[in-house]
């Protein structure tokens, strides 16, 4: 398996994939024209032909027999070409000596504060391949790409995670807040955003802060919570250095996780190494899973490999060389696949 930039020839595979995606993935519409346009745009992005703020790095995950089974994306900088909206979850504290009271109120403030950050987006893996290493490769490969090409991205990454909704797609946060302002259903709003029509957000979202005391209990409880299906993704990102910094999605209140580039685990762990092979297999006790990137931009390939590193040489097996289309002696970017040192949690 490997991850590589999307190509025009992937269109049919992606159409097939998108048919398997549920409502959760708004950014992968099963509309041929739209998807073709997106692929075309991504190809230009990888070639460096994008204007900063319009770059859309779209990758596919393919099996060793070249079957496309997943995709993931990276926007170079959001909010540059069009405003990017979140609520910021803030606190208002009031106190009165006369009353002997100090009162905390949570408020949601219209925010464009994520402007200029790079966004992780459009992750989708064929359900038949979930549970194994494929998901980790798909999700982390783009982080290694960022670590390898930091100059192409903002100084911080952000990932908006899917918020709480029930089986019928009903979002308690939307029912309690968005509905009053947008005059449409959650799925309509989500769909409009997915097809890139975001003007209506600026036009209709509340300009003044919202006191959460006016939301339903269910809606308040949904603030910054992820959908049960997304909890794994959240944990994975947190291990890579992402954290919740009080920004949420304006529709379903899902958390926006952020990570300054200089705190991205892969930025700190990435090293340039030379590829080599060992006699026989590298499945020794010294080997550990690595994430490896070879090539630049539109020519890049990324894969995971059981490997071991010594003196700036990464020892891999022949399959890995094949996946990376590399000969030994090639210099590549590599980092351990797993976050070795988890941040200690202090309660």
């Amino acid at each position: 398996m490997r991850v590589r930039p999307v190509r025009a020839t992937d269109l049919d595979d992606l159409i097939r994939l998108s048919a398997k995606a549920g409502k959760g993935l708004t950014s992968l519409p099963s509309d041929r024209t739209r998807l073709a346009a997106r692929i075309d745009h991504a190809e230009r992005t990888f070639k460096g032909h994008n204007v900063y703020g319009e770059g859309d790095f779209l990758f596919v995950l393919e099996t060793d027999d070249s079957q496309v089974i997943g995709m993931c994306g990276l926007m170079d900088a959001v909010g540059i070409q069009a405003p990017w909206y979140n609520y910021r979850v803030s606190l208002s504290v009031a106190s009165s000596d006369t009353l002997g009271v100090i009162k905390h109120q949570d408020i949601l403030m219209r925010s464009n504060d994520l402007t200029g950050k790079s966004e992780l987006c459009s992750l989708f893996l064929d359900p038949g391949f979930r549970g194994g290493q494929a998901g980790r490769l798909l999700s982390k490969s783009r982080l290694l790409f960022v670590a390898h090409h930091p100059e192409r991205f903002g100084d911080s990454l952000v990932a908006e995670l899917r918020g709480v909704s029930d089986d019928s797609g009903r979002s308690p946060f939307w029912e309690s807040l968005g509905r009053h302002f947008f005059d449409m259903t959650f799925s309509d709003a989500d769909w409009l955003t997915g097809i890139g029509n975001k003007r209506f957000i600026a036009e209709l979202m509340p300009r003044y802060p919202i006191y959460t005391t006016y939301l339903s209990d269910e809606a308040r409880a949904a603030i910054a919570q992820v959908h049960p299906d997304t909890q794994g993704a959240r944990r994975l990102l947190e291990q890579e250095g992402f954290h919740y910094n009080h920004h949420i999605d304006i529709f379903d209140a899902g958390p926006a996780l952020e990570c300054p580039l200089d705190r991205l685990r892969l930025v700190n762990d990435r090293v340039s190494v030379t590829l080599a092979t060992l006699e026989g297999s590298v499945k020794s006790t010294l080997a550990e899973p690595f994430l490896v990137l070879a090539g630049e931009l539109d020519h890049c390939r990324m894969t995971t490999a059981l490997a071991y590193m010594k003196d700036e040489i990464l020892f891999v097996d022949d399959d890995t060389l094949r996946r990376l289309e590399c000969l030994t002696g090639t210099t590549v970017s590599a980092a351990p696949l797993a976050a070795t040192r988890q941040h200690r949690s202090v309660s």
Partner: protein
Amino acid sequence: MPVVRTATFDDRPRLDALRSRLHPWWPQDTLDDALCQLADPCADARETPKSGHAVILMIENTHGDIVAFAALALGAVEGTPPFFSFHRDRITSHSHALDVHRPLETLGITNALTHHIRLGPIGLFDTADVETTQLLAAGCLGYLLTANHARAPVLCELPGTSDAHGESPFWHGVGGRFFGVSHARAEALWQARQRDFLADMLPLYPLYVPLLPETTQAALGVEHETLTPWRHALEALGFVESEYLDIFHGGPTLIATADHLSARTRRTQATTSPPPGSLWVRPPSATTPFEAGLLDTDQDTAFEPDALIQYFEAPYPTSASSAGDCR
């Protein structure tokens, strides 16, 4: 015909006794001020008002019982402490692409009414008595038209509506969420003029009306039902419902500019016979308080001009005057 007159210090015990019968949501600070300032009958209503300057106008029945009174705070001067209201505003959100128009009401805190003259509390002990209600309102009007106060606008904040349990749906939806104390405690502190807590605790940002509980929304600008006749009397005099609400109960704030009040009621020359229903006003003299009344609409007694009395044309539509008041 009954008259309305300014209260004097001799009236104080009777007025004090009537306080308990006032609606508990009337702000009583003006009444307190006015009771403390009760003076000679001949106190000059035309003195320059200062902060806290307040008077009481009252009506007695033929038995000499006080059947109605109103307090007026005239201290519309610089240095008056801020007066808090909710301002009911509207922002329309409009999506061209989606063809959506949503006029959204908001409630924001304002001190814009700080320098207004304040009318209230009023005590009307038989709310079905339209004649007394109208006389009280007309008497206040006459006082305002002739007293030498600064010509500031006049406001009357009416206590808001209550639910079946006597509680305020507006307090439930607004004050109760921000003050962190009971309604009774907040009221008591306000009446005791410990009001710093308003600026401290009231919401910083405008609230969206569609997010408020439905019972709260339904209470916006609705006066307590016992005060509807009083509201109608004020509206007949040129008061209009403003976009301001009482901060505790969401009752309406009726406002009239001095200009509009005088436009509604035109002074007539005392040499000609004023039409029935006209308002007459006698300024205070060395021995008598300010007095005002409405000329009987039916009576046929001959008109006796009095140089001290000023007449204003009918503030209320009467059968006789309605022809001249149609629009």
